[in-house]
């Protein structure tokens, strides 16, 4: 099974960042029904840099809020605990992989991820879904597998690029060289870090292959969001071509072809809102 291969590859990586204690603690607390917002805030505030990233993420992801959220404490009270956990995880990954070794432009990659987050949030909002901030996180983290390839598997990356130069598509090249998809790589890492199942499933889904017959709305929205971000050329991903999204997936995300103009405008507006988060890339 190719997912086993992905787990093997991830398991073999020696210098993977470990989840900070604070993040592990947040996950534990979120599962305890007696936890209060104050409890979570107390723990989060012990990690100054994580808190700072989380706050910037919150301000990017909650476009609906009329003012900037100036206090993380307030944000934690307003958001669901599950969303707070997703934000903590997203902030951790973002900080851990802000820059990287290798040939890829990490800034461009993260801008693309932020763009996917922005588009995902727009789509979730249009569907009147709650916890739209979660969708921002799904978009932000959807290409975690690419990070694994870039950071930790340089020899394989060279081989993959060699095949692409000969005309292979990225996904086929990746499977040929590594024995698994880049999505499975990301899911294996998310799993190793004990990410919540929905997040693992979004990170592990689609890519170039078609979705299985049953897929969640979260996956549909994240998939469509990536196509929107790519079409708008927000940052760069490892494949310069736009992924094909099938009608069933667009429909599951609640999108008709005539909606795409408005969706793009809202995504661009949301990117403006993400300014301070994007600034983190250039500090």
């Amino acid at each position: 099974m190719t997912i086993e291969r992905a787990r093997e590859l991830v398991g073999g990586i020696e210098d993977l960042p470990t989840l900070p204690e604070v993040v592990i603690e947040i996950t534990r607390m979120v599962e305890n029904p007696d936890t209060t917002a104050e409890d979570i805030y107390r723990i989060v505030s012990t990690d100054v840099s994580l808190s700072a990233t989380m706050l910037k993420l919150v301000n990017s992801a909650f476009y609906g809020m009329s003012k900037s959220v100036t206090s993380l404490e307030k944000a934690i009270r307003i958001l669901g605990f599950s969303t707070v956990r997703n934000i903590a995880l997203a902030a951790f990954v973002f900080d851990a992989f802000l820059t990287g070794k290798g040939q890829f432009d990490y800034k461009a990659f993260w801008v693309h991820s932020i763009g996917t987050g922005a588009a995902a949030e727009v789509l979730a909002r249009r569907q009147r879904l709650k916890e739209t901030g979660d969708f921002f996180c799904y978009g932000l983290l959807h290409d975690l597998g690419v990070v694994v390839l870039m950071q930790y598997l340089p020899e394989e990356l060279v081989k993959v690029r060699g095949l692409i130069a000969k005309g292979e598509r990225f996904c086929e090249a990746h499977e040929q060289v590594l024995g698994c998809t880049h999505k499975e790589l990301g899911a294996a890492l998310a799993d190793q870090w004990d990410f919540p199942p929905m997040l693992v499933s979004v990170i592990g889904s689609q890519g170039c292959a078609e979705l299985p017959r049953e897929f969640s709305r979260e996956i549909a929205i994240t998939t469509c969001a990536e196509a929107v971000a790519s079409a708008l050329e927000i940052g760069s991903s490892i494949d310069y071509r736009v992924v094909v999204v099938t009608p069933a997936v667009w429909e599951a995300a609640g999108v008709r072809p005539e909606d795409l103009g408005a969706i793009m405008d809202e995504t661009l507006a949301e990117m403006e809102h993400s300014g301070s988060f994007i600034e983190l890339l250039y500090r």
Binding site: G102, Q103, F104, D105, K107, A108, F109, V111, V158, R161, A165, A227, V228, S230, A231, L232, E233, I234, G235, S236, S237, I238, Y240, R241, V242, V243, V244, V245, T246, P247, W250, V255, P257, E258, L260, G261, M264, D265, L268, M271, E272, G275, I278, Y282
Partner: protein, 117 residues
């Protein structure tokens, strides 16, 4: 030959040297006449410099009236070509077609995060 910034690359320019990323990996070979797809494919890789052949001046017309020199494709036209290259073979349903059309219409929309591009 002249050094060109990636964002100033135009289709038809001929590479005077290999294009490599900063790990020395060769992306495109010397002598390549750049297509929109190839320019788009450079996105995201840390490319240092791109060297292209000097463009030959337009042939002088023997006739009296001033002849229009070969029209340079505008930056917008180049952007449109690159965008279409991203959708090559992907316009398989109405949504994908609409995605391209709407993206094309927004090519001039300001993107503050663009930085170099």
């Amino acid at each position: 030959m002249t050094k060109v910034n990636i964002r100033d690359l135009r289709t038809g320019m001929v590479l005077a040297r290999d294009v490599e990323d900063d790990s020395g990996y060769k992306l495109l070979g010397k002598g390549t006449a750049l297509t929109a797809a190839q320019i788009a494919s450079l996105d995201g890789w840390k490319v240092i410099d791109v060297w292209v052949d000097e463009e030959k001046p337009a042939k002088e017309s023997g006739k009296g009236a001033a002849r229009e020199t070969r029209r340079e494709p505008s930056a917008l036209e180049e952007a449109r070509k690159r965008l279409r290259a991203r959708f090559e073979g992907r316009l398989t349903n109405q949504w994908m077609k609409s995605l391209l059309a709407e993206a094309e219409a927004r090519l001039s929309a300001p993107r503050f995060w663009r930085g170099g591009r």
